[in-house]
Amino acid sequence: MPENNERSVPATETWVANYGDMLFRYVRLRVRDDATAEELVQETFLAALQGLKNFSGQSSFGTWLVGILKHKLIDHLRRQVRETPAAMDDDGAVSGMFNSFGHWTSMATPHAWKSSPEELAQQADTQRALKTCMEALPRRYREVFVMRVMDGVETEEMCKILELNPNNLYMMLHRARLRLRACLESKGIGRD
C-alpha cells in the first residue's frame, strides 16, 4: 500500500494524488461501474475530512481511509439491495437453464471440466473471463457475490447489513453462481 506507514495526517492536497488510485482499485473490484467507484472514493475523502479528529494514528492513514471506504461500500450495497428488492422475481437467464420439471435443458447441461479447479484458477484466461462474467451479472447478484465470496462476510452478518432474509440471500448467491458458471463455460473455460 502506498501510504508509507504514515501515522500522521498528510496534507489534504496530497490525499487524492496519494490515495485516490488505491481506494479506487479497492472499490472498483467490488462495484460494477467506474462512476459508482469514483463516487464512493470521493465520499470517502469528504467523510475523512469531516472525521479527521477521529484519526488516532494507531493505523496508517491509508488503512484508516480504507476503513471509511468499507463503510461507504456497505451503505451503497444496502441501498442497492433496498432499491431492487424484487429478489424473489423470476430470473429468466436461470429459469432458461432448466425445463418445466426443473431438469437441465440440453443446451445448458454442464459438462465436467478438463482441468482441475486449482489449475484453472492459476490461469490468466480464467481470471479475465471471471472478471468479464462478473461485470455481466445483474448488479445486486454481483454485489452479494463479492461481499460473500470475495470479502468472506458471513451470511448472518450480510442479512443484518443488507436487511435481507436468508432465503433471498441464498437464492441470489445461487443465481449469481449459476450465471457465472454458464458464462465461464461459454468463454471456453474448462474445455482446454
Binding site: 479497492y26 473490484l29 465470496v149 451470511t155
Partner: protein
C-alpha cells in the same frame, strides 16, 4: 413442492450445492443432495464448478490486492481533479 412429490430436480440440487457454500445443510438436505449427485453427472459437474467459481473469485481478489499493487487502471486525471476540487472546497468551507 418437489419435496412433497418426492421429486428432487436438478434446479433444486444446484440450489443446495450453492447453499452448502454459504450455510450448513441439514442432514436431510445433505442426504438428498448426495443421492441426486450420485445419479446425475450434470449436477455433479455443476456442483464442483460452483465451488470452483468461489475459488476463482478469491484468487482474483488475491492477485488484485493489496490495493494499489495491481495493474488495474486507477482514477482518471479528470476524476482526480474533480475530487481534489471537492476536497478543497469542503476544506475551505470548514
Amino acid at each position: 413442492m418437489w419435496r412433497d412429490l418426492g421429486i428432487f430436480s436438478c434446479r433444486q440440487a444446484t440450489r443446495l450445492a450453492s447453499d452448502r457454500l454459504d450455510r450448513r445443510l441439514t442432514v436431510w438436505e445433505r442426504l438428498e443432495l448426495a443421492m441426486h449427485l450420485a445419479m446425475c453427472g450434470a449436477c455433479r459437474a455443476c456442483a464442483r464448478q460452483l465451488r470452483a467459481i468461489d475459488l476463482f473469485a478469491r484468487r482474483l481478489l488475491k492477485t488484485s490486492e493489496p490495493p494499489g499493487s495491481g495493474d488495474e487502471p486507477g482514477l482518471t486525471p479528470e476524476a482526480k481533479l474533480r475530487m481534489t476540487e471537492a476536497v478543497n472546497k469542503a476544506q475551505s468551507g470548514k
